[in-house]
């Protein structure tokens, strides 16, 4: 099975990267670009077939390591 975890900075937290990219896109003439938010995604291969269990385990991984819930939100999908 595969888990895809998306981690984004919380909506009300400053995202300096996103701001820098927006500015750069504007400077390059892509004026149509509004807000830009930058996040990470992680593809994890999992040696398990138990979907429910995988779900619980991945949630735990996110809480413990993959996201810092102080400033980040996460969501994930399971595939296969």
């Amino acid at each position: 099975m595969k888990a895809i975890v998306y981690v984004t900075i919380k909506a009300n937290v400053l995202d300096p990267q996103g701001n820098a990219v927006r500015e750069a896109l504007h400077a390059l003439g892509f004026g149509e670009v509004g807000r830009v938010r930058i996040g990470k995604f992680m593809e994890l291969e999992l040696n398990t077939d138990d979907r429910a269990q995988a779900e619980a385990r991945v949630r735990e991984m996110c809480e413990k390591l993959l996201a810092n819930t102080v400033i980040e939100d996460y969501r994930f999908e399971l595939e296969g």
Binding site: P16, Q17, A20, A24, L28
Partner: protein
């Protein structure tokens, strides 16, 4: 010989480059703002270290579009010396003036230390005053200095003797083939992760970087002699 030190928002090695030109060879040097469009007054362009535009997204990715970069490209085409150090090297690869890319250090940590590097090619304008095979101690200070290019490019770099410096004793960042610095085909554009401008006085831990500046001056003077003769 006139030097330009390019200043992007977030450059921070600009002052060190400026001081190194003064201290090592006493030649005239100016800071040139990223919005400048004309570098015709200058014989050598230094692209300093730092975190241009915060290095957000990728190192050097945003700086490559600064207005001054067209002028840098022209200078390179005209055969002027272009030296990109650390972030400057990253800018040059993003701008495709040099091949490959610089990615995160294998350790995923920023590394600041003296590195031993070997002079692999002393026939560039930047390395004339070094011996071939000589080992230099030059500081490194980077988080994303792991050089990468594909097999074909690497073969070509080797065949054309364009790997100018290699790390020896220890490869600090995981660079492919221990690469610390490379040049373009003509040899007038050099990019390297180590900081020669931070190694210009013994009391700084090493003065091995001085000769990069004396080399440039000598290459420039030799070229001028050729022109006038």
């Amino acid at each position: 010989m006139r030097f330009a030190v390019i200043v992007f928002p977030g450059s921070n090695g600009d002052i060190d480059c400026y001081k190194a030109v003064e201290d090592a060879i006493g030649q005239p040097v100016d800071y040139v703002w990223h919005t400048a469009t004309d570098l015709s007054d200058y014989d050598a362009i230094l692209i300093p270290g730092g975190f241009s535009y915060g290095d957000y997204l990728r190192c050097g990715a945003i700086a490559r579009f600064a207005p001054v970069m067209d002028a840098v490209r022209r200078a390179a085409d005209e055969g002027k010396f272009v030296l990109g150090i650390c972030n400057g090297f990253q800018v040059l690869t993003e701008a495709r003036l040099l091949p490959g890319a610089l990615i995160r250090n294998r350790t995923l940590k920023f590394i600041c230390q003296l590195a031993d590097i070997k002079v692999e090619n002393n026939r560039t304008p930047f390395t004339l005053d070094y011996e071939e095979g000589e080992i230099l101690r030059i500081p490194i200070a980077h988080g994303e200095g792991c050089y990468y290019c594909d097999e074909a490019k690497l073969a070509r770099l080797k065949a054309e003797n364009r790997i100018v410096f290699r790390y020896v004793h220890e490869n600090p960042n995981g660079s492919i083939d221990d690469i610390a610095g490379i040049c373009n085909e003509r040899g007038n554009v050099l990019g390297l992760m180590p900081h020669p401008e931070r190694a210009v006085h013994k009391w700084l831990g090493s003065d091995d970087g001085r000769r990069m500046f004396t080399s440039m001056l000598r290459a420039y003077e030799a070229r001028r002699r050729e022109v006038t003769v």
